[in-house]
Every structure is written in C-alpha cells, then in structure tokens.
C-alpha cells in the first residue's frame, strides 16, 4: 500500500513505563497486481514470500488484542489477494479490534465485500492513482481505474465508512481539483490527499516523484478552498510533504509508542518503512510472542521515548511533539537512524532536503516489480 498515515491518537502510558500499543498494521502480503512507482514496500519483495499462515495471523491478532491494541489495519501489498482476509477480519473483530482495510480495490467484488462486512469490517480505504482513467492506469502500470470505480460504487451502496485516498506526486499533483471533483461525484465523505513519502520504491524514484514547490503551494490553496466549500459534507485530509516544511512529522506518534507493523513473513517493525534501517535487529512472531517483541526487542527499545535523542532534539521543546521525526528518513538521508530527521529545519543535515528538492527531474519513474 502506498501511504503511511500517522494515527491521530494520543498515547497512553502503562504502569511499568512501556507504552500501550494501540494500532497494529497487518501487512498480509507484498504481492500486488499494480506497479505504482511510489509504493513504500521494500525493494526486496522476494524476501517476503514465506507468508504467515491464517493460524499465525490469528495468533498475532489475539496477542495484539491482549496487549491493548484497539485497531487492526489490513494492508500490503494488496491484502485482498489473501483468500483468508475475511476470516482474519472476523478474528480481529471478535477480539474487539476496530478493523480497517487498506486496498486498491481491484478485487473488491460483491461477494468479498459482503463477507468482509458480515465479519465486522469497520472501515475501508480505497486508493486511486489519479481521477482520469488514462493517467491513473499509466501510474498503476496496468488497466485498473475502471475496476476501482466499480469497487467504490459497490462500497457506497453499503453502510460502511469509506475513505478515498490518492497519493500525490509530481505526475498527478496538478489534477488535485479533479480528484476532489471525482470524490464529490461519488459522494465520498472522507478524502485523503497524501503527498508521497519517500521510502521503498518511492525513495528509489524520488527525483521523478518529487513535486515542485509551486505544485505543493497550489495544492494547499486548492485544498483550503475545497475544505471551506465542502464543510460538513467531506473531510479532506491533506498530508503535507515534509520536504517542504519547517518541522518533521511526528512519525508513528513516537517510535515504539503506539504503533506496530507485522510484515508478510512475521517480522515486527516499529514503522512500516523500518526495514530500510539495516543495522536494527528485527524479531519475528514465529520465534517470539508479539508482547515480548513490543516490550524488549532492540528494534522497539532503541528509539523509544526521548533518552536516545541527540541535539538539537534533546533540549528542544518539541521533543515530545514530533519525537525527533522519522528514524527511517534520518537513516536514508543522513546515514544514521539515531540522528534528528533532516526534515527538521534545526537539523545540521537539513540542507539535504533542499538538495533533494533541487534534484527533482521531469522524468518517468520506474515501475515497482517483484
């Protein structure tokens, strides 16, 4: 799946000082029939083919519920490629979890949709690549837009919460008004316009996907006007690209603070992009229980809280506002996950962001391939 959205929640501390995890992202598979160049999945897709079984995922969900997790997000890759998706949604729902499906929608037929809803699915997020068929199919690398339209209509016919998502980048940024009009036509109540974040395939394609400053500023204006016009009918979430801001995003609301991801083959990550950090030691639910991994694995403990922070974070008033920003971005851009996110204007490495913006080129990005 394309987009990383930080949950909007407020963390809750537990008695022994380890925070309570609230949100579990189940990346059921990295298989996908689309080839979006902005996918955040790792480049080494072949390493993740030994997928957890239905029973192993059920165990993860029940452990998560016991730890206090309240939401399970099913994503990928394309999660509907797993034939046991509805079963797992049912397991999560019975364990008391709020269930969210993050899908590109091309396999969401009546039968699957009804089974998911019968099993308690609470919310569906469907992504489009662009509002026009030709451009959307070009970005996806295959003919899928019309199928997505069918899926969106099917979901609208039923009583379930729906978010339409479109990842914005240089190739589709100028269609932002059309995306909003497309959402209006379909009666969408929640629209997420997420500027691409550079991890995985998107990082590889960053020079081709980086929007221009003009595109980003224009996007802000268009969204502000649409929000005013559609007040009370459509919520528009506009995720700003942190290449253009002053402060970093509070990635994952703090590392190991409330969020965890389980990869298709069972590794537990503090952030869906964390596998990029090559010197962290990730543990697997096939070898150790989820709760122990959450509490004591190196990957979770190393950047949890604020004591790991270097300057300028350590003495900064915002240290528990943005949590030092994104560890993955610090690793990818500055070579060390333990540094302040270069997206922060106070970081000594902030000039890297400007250099990357300036390196943007009007070229075709490379398709994601297995």
């Amino acid at each position: 799946m394309p987009v990383l959205s930080a949950p909007t929640s407020l963390g809750t501390a537990s008695v022994d000082g380890t925070p309570r995890p609230l949100s579990l992202l189940c990346e059921l598979t990295y298989r996908c029939n689309l080839q979006c160049p902005y996918c955040y999945n790792p480049l080494t897709l072949r390493d993740y083919r030994d997928e957890l079984s239905t029973q192993e995922w059920s165990g993860v969900l029940s452990d998560a519920a016991e730890l206090g997790v309240v939401q399970a997000h099913f994503s990928g890759g394309e999660p509907t490629l797993r034939r046991d998706l509805a079963t797992l949604v049912g397991d999560a729902s019975r364990a008391g979890l709020y269930t969210n499906l993050i899908t590109q929608g091309t396999f969401l037929d009546d039968d699957l949709l009804d089974r998911l809803l019968d099993n308690g699915l609470d919310h569906i997020q469907i992504s489009i690549q662009a509002p026009q068929t030709e451009l959307a199919d070009r970005i996806a690398g295959t003919e899928v837009h019309e199928k997505k339209l069918d899926a969106l209509r099917r979901v609208r016919e039923r009583e379930v919460a729906l978010t339409l998502n479109c990842v914005l980048h240089r190739r589709n940024h100028d269609t932002i008004e059309d995306v909003i009009a497309f959402a209006e036509d379909l009666g969408i109540e929640r629209l997420e316009l997420a500027n691409v974040q550079f991890y995985g395939w998107a990082y590889r394609n960053r020079t081709a996907l980086m929007p221009t400053l003009e595109q980003v500023r224009r996007g802000e204006k268009v969204v502000a006007a649409a929000r005013e016009r559609l007040h009370g009918t459509m919520e528009i979430v506009y995720v700003l690209p942190d290449y253009f801001g002053e402060f970093p995003k509070p990635c994952m609301s703090g590392w190991g603070n409330e969020f965890m991801t389980v990869t298709p083959n069972g590794y537990v990550l503090p952030c869906p992009a964390a596998s990029a950090i090559r010197d962290l030691d990730f543990e697997n639910v096939r070898k150790r229980r989820l709760g122990e991994i959450w509490r004591s694995s190196d990957a979770f403990v190393r950047y949890r809280g604020t004591s790991w922070m270097p300057e300028p974070c350590r003495s900064c008033d915002r240290r528990e506002v943005d949590w030092g920003g994104c560890r993955c971005q610090a690793f990818l851009l500055a070579g060390d996950a333990g540094l302040t996110d270069p997206a922060c204007s106070l970081s000594p490495n902030h000039r890297i962001m400007a250099a990357l913006r300036e390196a943007a080129e009007d070229i075709e990005p490379a398709a994601r391939r297995a």
Partner: protein
C-alpha cells in the same frame, strides 16, 4: 452543531470501553483517548438526545465549573462534527 442538535455517530465511529475504565473514540484510521467528562458525554450520543441535554447531564454529574464545561464540550462536539465523526439531526 448547536444546542438543539441531536448528534449521532458518523459511519465507522465507535466508542470503546476498557476494563480499566478508559474510554476511547475509535474513528477511521485513528483513536482518541477521552477524559471522563468527554467519555460520559459521548456515551450519551444516540441521535435522540440534544447537545444541550447531553451537556446538562455531564455538568450535573461532575464537579466542574458549569460554563467552562459547557464551552469545552461544545468545542469538542464541534470539532468532532467538523471531521464527520458526529453527524447532527436538528
């Protein structure tokens, strides 16, 4: 949203009560931890009660300065309505 509005939850919005007494509002792709007055107020949301009735009940139940409680709760309901988590029938 005004005092005579009768709020109900939007699609995909749920209250969750935990064994330890904590209450959260679960929304699409997020969760909000509620303080006790907010938790009581949202537990009363049913599409029938008016915002005024809900706020009155909370003010009676908690030892809080009434005007401040009213302002805070009205603000909370307004913010939730803006995000589509509450819908209102007038």
């Amino acid at each position: 949203m005004n005092e005579q509005s009768r709020p109900r939850f939007g699609k995909g919005v749920k209250l969750r009560h935990d064994g330890d007494g904590s209450v959260m509002l679960l929304v699409p792709e997020g969760a909000l931890v509620l303080n006790p007055p907010a938790a009581v107020a949202l537990t009363l949301v049913d599409g029938n009660r008016t915002l005024e009735e809900i706020v009155d009940t909370v003010v009676e139940r908690f030892e809080v300065a009434p005007q401040r409680a009213r302002d805070e709760l009205n603000g909370l309901f307004e913010r939730l309505a803006q995000r589509g988590f509450l819908r209102c029938l007038s």
